[in-house]
Amino acid sequence: MKMMSYREAIREAMMEEMARDENVVLIGEDVGCYGGCFTVSSGLIDRFGTRQVIETPVSEEGLVGVAVGAAIMGMRPVVEVMYGDFSTLASDPLLNHAAKTHFMSAGAQSVPLVYRTPMGSGTGAAAQHTQSLETLFTNTPGLHVVFPSTPCDAKGLMKCAIRSNNPVVFLEHKNYGQMGLVPDDEYLIEIGKADIKRIGEDVTIITYGRMLDTVTQAARVLEDDEVSVEIVDLRSLRPLDTRTILDSVIKTKRALIVHEAPLFGGFSGEIAATIASDSKAFSSLMKPVVRLGGREMPIPFNKHLEAAMIPQVEDIVKAATSLFG
């Protein structure tokens, strides 16, 4: 095993796949010498040149559409869009085209494309650069949606996403410097498999992306209060690993769901419904499912307000504690 950052893990996955298959092509704005907005692609242009690293104008709708077209012809594009917020611009090629091409051609065409973009707050970049828009994609059949939280997951999932013959929305969190252990040998992580990041007995906390970090800190606090927390890190939102969620909830009999996106209409609703619709999980619950998410407002610029917008360690501890007694 070796230590590397979330950023390096994504870069290494792209590098390995680009070296393996010259049809794997990184496409995006400033992905060359600038290394992309968060320097994830630093050095790739030096190694792979402009045949495999294509820098584009500021044309999100166009560049993602172009990547979809190239994918239909056999390219395996990894498209980078600087901020998840600009997914609104890329949503036409992704939702109306990439997601439907295989279906509408009755399987004759496919779109082996990865759409990479970072989501989330904490950067002080204000309301148009900090949203968590995962549900823009999760309600669209034909797309896969993954949101890795650790370097290890990011690398394994990126390699799988690149090899997938379907369009994969690969969401990244912005704690790119976060360090973690990554296996030395090549490995893949299957899309659609959740991971139990912490085994526990008393309560299941289901989360994904950057919130894993906050939830893990909360679990340590709860452990001091002798509450044993099991953490289910979804990793994939679509397809969703319902089996792992249900088994954990049946075991602990308590469920808390945490994400950064606003609660109303948030992905936690899908998970709560998954639990409520399973008779065994539902009947095992000691208390109703609790959900925690961002406040119902755009992200303010002010640093303290920005932080207070999203679930904090104390909020999670309090919510988990409310499931007892």
């Binding site: 704005e29 010498c33 970049a125 309301a127």
Partner: protein, 323 residues
Amino acid sequence: MESTSPVAILTLMIRSRTFERKIEQLFRTHKMHGTTHLAIGQEAVHAGVALGIDSSDWIVTTHRCHGHTLAKGSSVEAMIGEFFGDKRGLSKGLGGSMHLIDLKHHNAGSSAVVGSSVALATGMALQLQRSGSDNLVVAFFGDGASNRGVVHESMNMASIWSLPVLFLAEHNEYGMSSSAKKMVSVDSIADRGSSYSIKSESIDGNDVELVLSKVRDAARYIREEKRPFLLETRTYRFSGHSKSDKLLYRSREEEAEWAKKDPIGRYSQILVDRGEITYDQIAEIEQSESENIDTIVASYLEDHQELTLEESMEYVYHDEVSL
């Protein structure tokens, strides 16, 4: 309208430069949070545009909006407050440095989604036209933004509907690390005008008196002919794109070439040669602008006031009409 005496123009540009340098320093010393986009080197465009239109005309700006906002007349206090996330800021600390809005000075704000604001500016012009107003809207956008489809769509709509929009291409050679030479299919964005039957012109954006007179001409044309206009100002972003830019994509020689065309240096020289001002007097202006900003910054550092979460939530929706 602000006074357009040469000394007032120079003072405005110096205020803008001083402001940007101060912001740069506050970020470097981690006194400010978030990110910032400085427009050092582009002061002549901002001063020339703001002084060339009427104070009741509107501007719609970009992520790089400090200079536009200052030139249109906003108070340094309210701007700095916004940068500090203070509730005395232009948007009570909710918007931040990329979103400076000041309706009092007819600045409708910016989009940090580059290019998107051009459509909003076009829509503002549509409503001005409908209401019989004589005012126009300036839509600022960069060479990078010029490649967004929405900019092209907006120009087409402004043309077919004859809207009072001044499309103001602020061509500063780069969009982040991307050279316009590589990314924009025409040498001059003004050339794009003819595709939409929009009259256009490309000018030296570092010559403040030229910008001022061309903006006046364009504004007159828009009001009299009732047609949009596209003005490209050629300039250069002296600073990096944002606070983390290492400037690997351009050469120091190129920067030095452009430094010779520094709009403030050039205009200072011209005014001194014309006997309008002396270098000592310019130094005094610099000194006084700098002291003014320092005082404002110091007061915010001393006394910080911010909205509570509950207060900020009040702004998500407008009050509903009572039925």
